[in-house]
Symmetry: C2
Subunit: 123 residues, 2 copies
DNA sequence: CTCCTATACTTAGTATTGCTAAGTACATTC
DNA sequence: GAATGTACTTAGCAATACTAAGTATAGGAG
């Protein structure tokens, strides 16, 4: 199948996933790329050209704030992104939107029980 | 919240939903718009300018086939779209892709077990 | 020192796609 | 015949994942 569909499905959820990853603590770009790749089993393997524009958009909307690290010794300087209060709020709303959206789509694709504890008749 | 996110989330799933609606029988454009709106509780309220380009793309990919109705009496002529064998196959693959995708996103948003019996701390 | 690799960030440009807005055509209603 | 409702078409816009190239620094190989 066309990888096109998977690419398109990602639209609108990557920002939510990035915000979610920043919920616990500030992180830098490459770190986010690694974590998203590992935790998704490879499904969310973002290139820099995908992630950084997302971070810039989030920053423009004041959902995250960035600061450059002061490199200790010969460390490379890194730009850490931390979620703001507004970002936390947006994350909650985005998560709700996603759940509602996914529930509707599941229902309309015949996948109508998504509560997670039913036995699903496959095929 | 920005309606932008909802718009973006739709990308990549509308084609699946349209194919799904054609699984049972051929339908025409306006009919699909009505059904999608009704069955989604309004979430998928497509304008013609959204639906028809989708149908044309599906037709280009040989996932659906269209034929003009022969209007009986003074009926308006309608263009009926029917799913092809290739379309059925694509629908199965798309549905699987969606389930896998949604499962990953749910897991990564901490929505991994929604058994429905947890107590949720509301903000 | 130069060359290569790895890390880390930036940015210009492309393709896809949902949407807006306008248009055509026909039938019915007023 | 003007307005309304149905049905389809299309030009153009906006948003965004991706490609591809670039900058900069550090460390190692030669």
């Amino acid at each position: 199948m066309n990888p096109k569909y998977e690419q398109q499905m990602k639209k609108g959820v990557l920002e939510m996933l990035v915000l979610k990853r920043l919920e616990s603590e500030p992180k830098y770009g490459y770190q986010l790329i690694s974590e998203l790749r590992e935790e998704s089993g490879g499904m969310f393997t973002l290139k820099e050209g995908t992630l950084y524009p997302i971070l810039y958009r989030l920053e423009d909307e004041r959902l995250v704030e960035s600061r450059w690290s002061e490199p200790k010794g010969k460390e490379v300087s890194r730009k850490y992104y931390g979620i703001t209060e507004k970002g936390n709020e947006e994350l909650r709303e985005l998560t709700e939107l996603w759940r509602s959206f996914a529930a509707h789509v599941n229902e309309m694709t015949g996948n109508n029980k998504v509560t997670g504890n039913e036995e699903v008749q496959e095929g």
